[in-house]
Subunit: 347 residues, 3 copies
Amino acid sequence: MQFSAAQIAPLIDGRIEGNASVSVSGFGKIETAKEGDLAFLANPKYESYAYSTEASILLVSDEFTPRQPLSPTLIRVKDPYAALAQLMQLVEQQQASHPEGISPTALIAEDVELGEDVYVGAYAVLEQGVKVGRGVRIYPHAYVGKGVTIGEGATIYPHVTLYHDVKIGARCIIHAGAVIGADGFGFAPQSDGYHKIPQLGNVILEEDVEIGANTCIDRAVMGSTIIRRGVKLDNLVQIAHNCSVDEHTVMASQVGLAGSSQIGKWCKFGGQVGIGGHITIGDRVEMGGQTGVISNIPEGSVLMGSPGMPLREAMRNFVIQPKLPDMYRRLQALEKELAELKQQQSK
Amino acid sequence: MQFSAAQIAPLIDGRIEGNASVSVSGFGKIETAKEGDLAFLANPKYESYAYSTEASILLVSDEFTPRQPLSPTLIRVKDPYAALAQLMQLVEQQQASHPEGISPTALIAEDVELGEDVYVGAYAVLEQGVKVGRGVRIYPHAYVGKGVTIGEGATIYPHVTLYHDVKIGARCIIHAGAVIGADGFGFAPQSDGYHKIPQLGNVILEEDVEIGANTCIDRAVMGSTIIRRGVKLDNLVQIAHNCSVDEHTVMASQVGLAGSSQIGKWCKFGGQVGIGGHITIGDRVEMGGQTGVISNIPEGSVLMGSPGMPLREAMRNFVIQPKLPDMYRRLQALEKELAELKQQQSK
Amino acid sequence: MQFSAAQIAPLIDGRIEGNASVSVSGFGKIETAKEGDLAFLANPKYESYAYSTEASILLVSDEFTPRQPLSPTLIRVKDPYAALAQLMQLVEQQQASHPEGISPTALIAEDVELGEDVYVGAYAVLEQGVKVGRGVRIYPHAYVGKGVTIGEGATIYPHVTLYHDVKIGARCIIHAGAVIGADGFGFAPQSDGYHKIPQLGNVILEEDVEIGANTCIDRAVMGSTIIRRGVKLDNLVQIAHNCSVDEHTVMASQVGLAGSSQIGKWCKFGGQVGIGGHITIGDRVEMGGQTGVISNIPEGSVLMGSPGMPLREAMRNFVIQPKLPDMYRRLQALEKELAELKQQQSK
C-alpha cells in the first residue's frame, strides 16, 4: 500500500510543506528511516536527525522551525505523536486479521454467557458463571476463573490467569502471563508461624485499562482492589491487595505498590518505583525511576530518589552526592584549622 | 448467613461489649464497612475510624480504650488480626466449593502416583515419575515436570511450571505463573562468549510454604535451592540458584536474592529488597522496602537504604540527605571565612 | 557411574596432583561436598574450605598455592569454572533423556514448517506461518504466534508466549513463562486519556541467547527490539520496546530497561539495575545491583548506586553516607565557633 502526503494530511488535520505527491509505504524511526518511510519528530532531542533522515515524509509540530534545509516533505500537525498514533491505528485496522470463532478445544462451562463475535482460542478454559461481552478476544491457554466477567471488546492474551470473581472492564487489554486476582499477601503472625488470612475480596478493572505482561494484581482481603478506567500498567508491575489506582494513571515496568495504597488520577510513575503500604498519593504526581515512597504525597508533586525528594532537590543532591567523601575530608581539615587558630589566639 | 456477636465471640475466645444480639453477614474494612459488617481494629493508625464506622461489630484488642463513645458492638480479643484470620477461615471453609476430580483432558503419565481426593484440572500435564499426595489440587494448565513430588494438601494454581525433580512440601500454595526449578543463571565466561553451566541440582520447598504469582525459584547448580517450612514469598520474587531461606521468613513483592545467599529464620523483607550473592543474613533480620545488601548481616538487625544501614541511622540520614547541597555551600563559606580570618591574623 | 582422576584430567586438559586412581560419582560444592564428590575452587573467598572439604577431587587453577596440606586429589586447570562447566555438560549429555516427537495434543497450523528431530509437547499451540528449525524443543503449553521463526536447536520451555512475528535464533533457550513480543508501552496522552500507539514492530533474538523465567521483551513500535547473539538475561528482566542489547551482555534478575535504550557488548549488570529511556551504554560496562542510570555511560565504566557513580567513588560514598547526620552537627558547631571567634576578634 502506498499513500501520498496529499492523502495522509487530511486524515490527521495536517498542513503539507514540500512535495505533496511524494508517497510512503511504512513507518520508520527518524534516525533509521529509509526512502518510502513516514517518520516523526516529537522529542526535540532527535531534531538533528531531521536534517539527515532519509524518510520521505516527516510529521512535525506546528511550532517546529527548521534551522537548516531538510529533504522530506513535512506534514505539520498540532501533536505529531498523537497524529502518528492515529495513522498507525488506521494501518493496524487494515492489516490485522483478528482471530475469530470458538476453538473446539476451548473448555467452556455450560452456564458461561458468551456475547456476539467472541473469539476463544485453543485450550482456553472458562469456568462456571463466566460472562463474556461482545467482541471479546480470549487467546489460547488463557484461564478464566469462576464468576469472572469480561466487558465488551476486551482482549485477554495467552497464559493470562483471571482468578474467580475478577471483573474486567470494556476494551481492557491484558497481556500474556498477567495474573489478576491471586491471593493478597496477608498472614497473621503466631508463635508457630504465619497463619493465612483468606482473601475474600476481588479485583475490579474498569474500562480501557491495559495491563502488561506478567504483571500481578492481587485480590482484596475484603472489598476490591480497584484499577480505574484508562489506567495503563507496564510489564512485571505488582499491585498488592486493597490498592486503588485512579483514572488515567500510568506506571512503567516493575513498579510495586504495597497493600492498601491509594494512587490518584493522571499520575506517572517511572520504572521500579516502590510505594509503601497504606500510603495516599495525590493526583498528577510524577516519579522518576526507582523512587521510593514511605509517606503520603500531595497532589502535583514531582519526585525522585529513595526516599523520594522533590525533583529539583533530588537533582541538586545527585550532583553533590559524589562530593560527599571530599566534603568529609574538608570538614575534618576545617575543624583542625579552627582548633589551631583558637589555640594560637589563646596564647 | 447471619451470625450474632453472641455466636461469634466464643469462636475466637472474645468478650462482648454492647448488644450481643446484633448480627453480621460479612466482613468490611473499618473505614468503609456498612451496617451488617464485621470490621476490626489492629493498626492504631486507623483508630479514628472506630468512632465513625458503620460496622455492626468491631473486633478490638483487650487493651483498646475508646477515647469517645462508639456505636458498634465490640468483641475484645487478645489479637484482633489473628481472630479475624480465624473467622475468615471459617467463612471460607463454608463458602468455598473446591474443585474435584481428574479432568479427562489432564495428561497424566502412566507411572504417576496420585493420592486420594486429588483434583487435576483441565489440560494440566503431569510427566513421568510424578508423585502427588492426598488432597492436592492442581489447577488447569499447570505443568508438573518429570520426577516432581507434591506433598499432601498442596495447591498448584494455573500456569505454574514445576521443572523436573522439584519437591513441593505438604500444604504449600503456589500461585499462578510461578516458575520453580528453572536453570540457575550460571555461565563460564570464555573469549567467544559465555558457556552454560548445566544446572544439575533441584529445588526443595518444605511444608506450609506459600509462593506468590510469577515468582521464580531457580534450581541449584548442584545440591538444592531450599525454602524451609512456613516461608511466605509474595509475587514476582526472585530466588537464585543455591539460595536457602530458613523457616518462617516472609518476603514482600519483587525482592531479589542473588546466588548462594543464605537467609535466616523469621526475617521480614519489604518490597524490592535486593541481596547480593554469597551473603549470609541472620535470623529475625528486618529490612525496609528497596534495601540493598552487599555484606553479611547479623541476627536481629533492622535495615533500610541502599546500601542498607541500621534503621535509626537510615531515618536520620533521610532527614539530612535533602540538606546536602545546602551543607556544601555552607562548607565552602566556612572555608572562605576561615581563610580570611587567618589572613587578617597573619597581618 | 564412577570416574577416576586419571579419566577426568585429560577431558579438561588438567594436571593431577595426588592419587590419580581416586574416583568420584557426582559434583558437590566445596563447603558441603562428601567423599566421592568432585568439587571446585574458583572464588578465592572459598579457599579455606579447600583444607576441610571432604571432596575426593578438587579442581583448582594452575596458580593455586595451598597454604597447608589438603586431602583431595587436585586437578589443576587454567580456569576451574570453565573446566567444571565442561564436565557438567558431559554428565548432562549422558544423563538427560530429552523429550522427543510431536504430541498428538499439540495444535499445529497446517502451514507450519517443522525441521527434523523436533519435539512439540502436549497442548503446545503453533499458529499459522510458524517455522521451526531442526532439533528444536517446544515444551507443553508453549504458545507460538503467527509467523514466528525458531532457529535450530532452540529450546522453548512451558508457558512461554511468543507473540506474532518474533524471531528466535539458533540454540536460544527461553525459560518458562517468558513473554517475547508483547506490545511496547506506548501511548499518546490526550485530554480524555491515553491513546494506544499500535506496536507494529517485532522482537529479534539472535543465536545463543538465554532468556530467564518470566522475563519480558516488548515488540518495537516500528522496526525491531534486538537482542544480539550470546546475550544472557536472568529471570524477571524487562526489556522495553526498541531497545537493543549487544553481543555477550549479561543481566541479572529484575533488571529493567526503559524504551529505546542501547546497551553495548560484554556488559554485566547486577540485579535490579534500572536504565532510563533513550540511553546509550558503551561496551564492557559493569553495574552493581540496584544501580540507576539516567544518562549515557561511556565504554568500560564500572558503576554503582542510584544514580550510578564510578564504583570507587560509590564505595567511598557508602562509607561516608552514614556519617552524614554527624557531619551536619559538626558543620553547625563549626559555624558557631567561627562566629564566636570573629566576634571576639572584632572586640
